[in-house]
Subunit: 417 residues, 2 copies
């Protein structure tokens, strides 16, 4: 379900991010890990132990923090803090990189007075460089000192995890479970090497819902398939992709231990939050001037719908055409055609739509008689949608990407310097 009627089901978007839920604090500080004169380390902390769930990159090459967090999720009964740095990814750093994760967790645990194995870590930035452990530790000291609840603290944290992002990305919602108000908030960062597989680049969610670890993991794993896994900026699946959710139970609802109305409610709220963040990430892709959405309807299977939608938003040629506000629908049909899903090209309808309107551009195997001027106007909006009706069945899916601009090349031709 991509379009949630959130009013009907009682999900209310509220101010804030990772400290919106009860009992969470956050901080963002300058630690000069690699960037100068900007915040580059963040902390998320819960006053009480949390159950935790996560999804991680499927890349064979996994960054040290990914390996650390996976172990914590498997072995530790709960977690209570996440330490994040931007600038250096701590990937392809061998034993020294793993030792660094351990020391980060140990030191944060010491200062926060929680066990080392309750501290999760995450890094994003350049691959192959070692983290400067002394500056990381100094950053942790500052983070622990600065941690607080509220608008300023969570904004600092959301800014500190950014790399090439142009804007912080956070959201919070509240909803009711068994008569109790539950809050769920989150933040994430892009904006290159974004083609998540089972997770996103870096995303952190916090909730005061009371939910079992098993159900939390189940909800997260099911959710990413239609949220973070449906976005792409450049087709590159990162070594560091990490999505974590901490649930500290402070809302006081009856614990969600199995499927049912409460679990469904929680999943809806989760999907509202993850879809919001995923779209923000796609729209703020490196160099992007537009959010490029592709909605496939009438597909034979759900998997076909996902494959078709994702193939279009991943096509370099289509992305370049969107940048140029050029209604080059042939490239869209081409990308549907090589996706791997079967369909009859003569029986597809393609539309462009945005807040400026909607036009039918292809049907019955040939171009429709549309106005190029109108098409260009629609394509000049900052959010552009391709609607593809495959007429093969009733399944649908939506994927989100961005256009391909000069700035993508500029950013990535010299990212390390």
């Amino acid at each position: 379900m991509n379009q949630i009627d959130n009013k009907r089901i009682g999900i209310k978007q509220i101010e804030g991010g990772v400290t919106a839920a009860k009992g969470f604090q956050a901080a963002g500080v300058e630690a000069a890990i690699k960037y100068q004169n900007r915040k580059d380390m963040a902390l998320i902390y819960s006053a009480v132990p949390c159950v935790v769930a996560g999804t991680f990159t499927t890349n064979v090459v996994k960054a040290a923090p990914v390996i650390w967090d996976k172990r914590i999720l498997e072995e530790a009964p709960y977690a209570q803090a996440i330490v994040v740095n931007s600038g250096i990814a701590n990937a392809c750093t061998g034993k020294q990189g793993m030792d660094c994760c351990e020391e980060e967790a140990r030191y944060a645990g010491e200062l926060l007075e929680i066990p080392r194995d309750c501290v999760l870590v995450a890094s994003t930035g350049v691959i192959g460089m070692q983290l400067p452990l002394d500056r990381v530790k100094e950053g942790i000291r500052k983070l622990v000192e600065a941690k607080a609840q509220g608008k300023e603290a969570e904004l600092d944290a959301a800014k500190a995890i950014m790399t090439t992002d142009t804007i912080e990305k956070q959201i919070a919602v509240s909803f009711e479970i068994s008569g109790k108000t539950v809050t769920l908030g989150g933040m994430c960062k892009g904006s290159g090497m974004i083609h998540p597989n089972m997770c996103t680049m870096l995303g952190f969610l916090t909730t005061d819902a009371k939910i079992s670890k098993e159900m939390l993991q189940k909800a997260l794993r099911a959710d990413v398939v239609d949220s973070f896994n449906m976005i792409s900026v450049d087709g590159d699946t990162s070594t560091n992709d990490t999505l974590l959710i901490l649930a500290n139970g402070q809302a006081g609802n009856e614990e969600i231990q199995s499927e049912g109305a409460e679990y469904e409610m929680f999943c809806e709220a989760l999907h509202f939050v993850t879809t919001y963040l995923a779209k923000k990430m796609a729209g703020d892709g490196e160099g992007a001037t537009a959010l490029f959405e592709t909605k496939v309807v009438g597909a034979a299977t759900k998997e076909d719908a996902r494959i078709l939608a994702k193939s279009v938003i991943c096509s370099s040629l289509t992305k370049a055409a969107i940048f140029g506000h050029d209604a080059n629908w042939g490239r869209i049909l081409c990308a549907l055609g090589y996706s791997g899903a079967k369909f009859d090209p003569e029986n597809v309808d393609l539309y462009f739509q945005s807040k400026s309107g909607r036009i039918h551009i292809y049907g019955s195997g040939v171009a429709c008689d549309y106005s190029e001027e109108e098409a260009t106007r629609i394509l000049s909006d900052p959010e552009v949608t391709v609607l593809a009706d495959m007429h093969m069945g009733a399944e649908e899916a939506t994927a989100w990407g961005c256009d391909l601009s000069y700035d993508y090349v500029k950013i990535n031709a010299d990212y390390r310097s």
Copy 2:
């Protein structure tokens, strides 16, 4: 076998292209199909009937000429001419597009005094527009009049099939089979929507070898796996990909009817020609400033080697780093990691090499102690190679791509106008 010791096995590169082999003529003329003031239609013609083989796009959306040619290859006993136009792809053009192919073939057959079903057609350019049949027919008339053997005619043809290519791509070789000198020549064009699957954008080969249709098809099908299918410019598999080879038997060798030394010799020469053309196409990718080669050695299986090599040359982030002459090897390791092939990242060695030298950049799970200055010098050459030793087995493969530049975006943001 990617590096052929062509001197040892007696393959000699000679001047020319599609008319180098005995009995072939070619032409290229201005027909104003879409482009103005440049050649945009080409003809290849054999004085005698040829056996013909071909491979075509795997895209579900197939252009009308692809459908026409596939039928000819299945049904007609031989072929004698190929008519090509650039500017308009005749893809997604419905019945009118198919009728146009038929009329092209009929009219060319009439003027050349050969059956309609001996005429193959190919188109490249914008998807979705109808071909102007009157101008196409006028072009065919000029082509038939202009057709000739030799340097000028084949160069005209090679230029006429170009779209965003910056240079024509042709080659010819000679070799011996059963005491007779056999010649094989070819031409092809890129340079966007290039991510061939079982074929290339447009490639045309001619040979005077005497070979059965069955063995010709077998040779071509086996060859593309390690030549044209190992290149990519932008990951977009076209609707028009077509590779055709005409063999007219004029060399007078004993007909190749089965596997054996003569067949092997023919395959080696074919691979020399196709690899040459494939590399030219990759190096002349839209906006490219460098040919970007990735050679994977020590892979567990041949298929793994191909997948790994191709994943690296397809990575947008790596391509942008190559454009920036930035030794960002983390992106290479990342691309190997998400390719789908299994390996141990701690046990991979990565090297950059070019005519300026070779450096070891990654090994034992961490960065090597290399000079960034030397790396930049190597990466500033127009042909750059990444060598990845996986230490998993003895299989190897090479893939070719190009860097990702501002010009790729420029060319594709407004290709239709």
